[in-house]
Symmetry: C2
Subunit: 433 residues, 2 copies
Amino acid sequence: MMRTRPLKVALLGCGVVGSEVARIMTTHADDLAARIGAPVELAGVAVRRPDKVRGGIDPALITTDATALVKRGDIDVVVEVIGGIEPARALITTAFEHGASVVSANKALLAQDGATLYAAAEQHGQDLYYEAAVAGAIPLIRPLRESLAGDKINRVMGIVNGTTNFILDKMDSTGAGYQEALDEATALGYAEADPTADVEGFDAAAKAAILAGIAFHTRVRLDDVYREGMTEVTAADFASARQMGCTIKLLAICERAADGESVTARVHPAMIPLSHPLASVREAYNAVFVEAEAAGQLMFYGPGAGGSPTASAVLGDVVAVCRNRLNEATGPGESAYTQLPVSPMGDVVTRYHISLDVADKPGVLAQVATVFAEHGVSIDTVRQHGRQDGGGEASLVVVTHRAPDAALSGTVEALRKLDTVRGVASIMRVEGE
Amino acid sequence: MMRTRPLKVALLGCGVVGSEVARIMTTHADDLAARIGAPVELAGVAVRRPDKVRGGIDPALITTDATALVKRGDIDVVVEVIGGIEPARALITTAFEHGASVVSANKALLAQDGATLYAAAEQHGQDLYYEAAVAGAIPLIRPLRESLAGDKINRVMGIVNGTTNFILDKMDSTGAGYQEALDEATALGYAEADPTADVEGFDAAAKAAILAGIAFHTRVRLDDVYREGMTEVTAADFASARQMGCTIKLLAICERAADGESVTARVHPAMIPLSHPLASVREAYNAVFVEAEAAGQLMFYGPGAGGSPTASAVLGDVVAVCRNRLNEATGPGESAYTQLPVSPMGDVVTRYHISLDVADKPGVLAQVATVFAEHGVSIDTVRQHGRQDGGGEASLVVVTHRAPDAALSGTVEALRKLDTVRGVASIMRVEGE
């Protein structure tokens, strides 16, 4: 009972992802039709540079007028793979107004203004799907918002940026410093010429906002996410991590508070035990670890970026949206009913690994320990060793028990004021235990 | 815009899984209502022994007449967690006839007769969901049939039985033999008193049939799945595996043939490299590795069994089915349009690791190598070493390149006939490279 009138897809953007979407739609047209229950066809492709050669796409479909394309009125699904805030936002809302559903890979826009998009979709009875916005090809949005819809998610912790994982994995496996590993990532095409969005954690923070909102059924915006980049992670940090049986990853962590009354979302480098499933995620792979009340511990692993993987996620959404249209129905919309507030970083309960350069004389450890006690932070382990150079300095490594981040950073601030503490060599959170 | 008339769920079976489903439906009723868009209530619970105390369930809901319950006509969703073929099959088809959709965790029934159930669901315009039937809480059915609906899956390889993974992990980590590890699994409740279904691979074979059908959009029945158990895996096999940088797992492997014209499904113990993501799956955890044309390599990991994890999967399906009902729509049904045939095990292309006890004299290796060559099987590596006991015997370990399983088993048969081959100590396939 295949419908013969095809569903029409408009593609906004024809770069690495868009061209793969177009290619697969052509080469796998029969499979897509069988799975949807109706043929699906590419009805138009909006690009900035129409003169660029685009293999396999009928030139008659190419336009530079994206607005006119989404306003055509006969489009069933708009695939937005332009990225950035504008014109993507205006095009998506225009698409809804003109009776199209939207599949987007735009993490920045969804993290900054997801609520507006959801509201526009609902107002016009359209779907908004965005599996490709977080962790590329890895099915994650659908499992979180559908498979786990009968469960209570308490924690989502993931490696959601492939560039930084590639750099950190290199540092770990070769002993390279940050700059050397970044240079290799750039040479191999894993890092962009300006790597700021990746290495400073902006990209991961956008994904954390999206994941936290879905996991906890509340609204979390990019501004709510605490963010630290990984540019200051050193080879020495990896050596310290290894002594603790850990490695270092840039993690996006979304948590429900112990009392259940608030949530937190953050991105920062952290030590995790080598035995943790996330520790063995190599190169540019992504993986997201989910803890749910009934399901327990789940992990989703795969390529987090790239044209083909992202196109796979986009096309899975296209199939779902097309099926919904044939059913004259829509899939799940925004679910923000819990209205849980997002707490600041100071409220996050975590552990610190702190390396101090201290004067090598009696009483220093007692002084340091007193500062921790005054801030209500309990110490788990201390390692102390004199410097090889005999310059009267020693190194002190303290690992704390779990405490509020505010107490931990207050402790560090007080330690810096001690005469006997010459410097704080590094501070890193410890997760996943 | 919450609908006030509740959706009604009938629960068939109230054991480890069913009681968890009932408990979560009660304790998390508000969350479920918010996510569905309407309240959902437990309308009846069919059990065999009504006198057994069931904490938290209103005794008025308990019945021994499952058929009458599914025939009531006001039931929206029937949750079938009885297991086995009958009466589960009759109850499910009766449920469809009386206007209810079905959520099932019944792998045996789905593997044996999924097509009949799908046809009945479609005939009556009802949903058949079964996320819990494979790999417990791990979202797997939905990702395969929805998230990857725009992609082409070439391979699904997984650890889908927690009992056997617990046993093999114990053997690997402690050097224990099979019986010792099984005894520990039994004592800890990971293995049943009669472990046959697990250790002989029947449970995994049912899951392989379900996964292959979904992944390749064709019909694969339990009888189509080649099956070898893991009762003959020895501590010596693990020692051999370690020498190759491998471990041993009981794997369910579903593959599309290189020419794309057929598929295979099989369950057997296999050596996999320690660097493979499946190698680090410990204890009773499950994990499924998926290779798709565009998405690349994905892995899904989590608890494969247990009351709460399975209930999580069941309730995710209940939420989806309830949403579909409010939309007056149904989710994806059977997708078997490719009609790809299932090839026999002999056509599977794989590698063998073979340990032979041979006479310790010149010319044996040449004889053995000739047998491989005669069967068109190319040798990758050979290791030969004399026995410590000096009894005139040596041990020969041969690892082959990839070849059809029929050629490999023909080779082994011929080797057994050589005078100089005293015995074939072990044969194991090598996967994941």
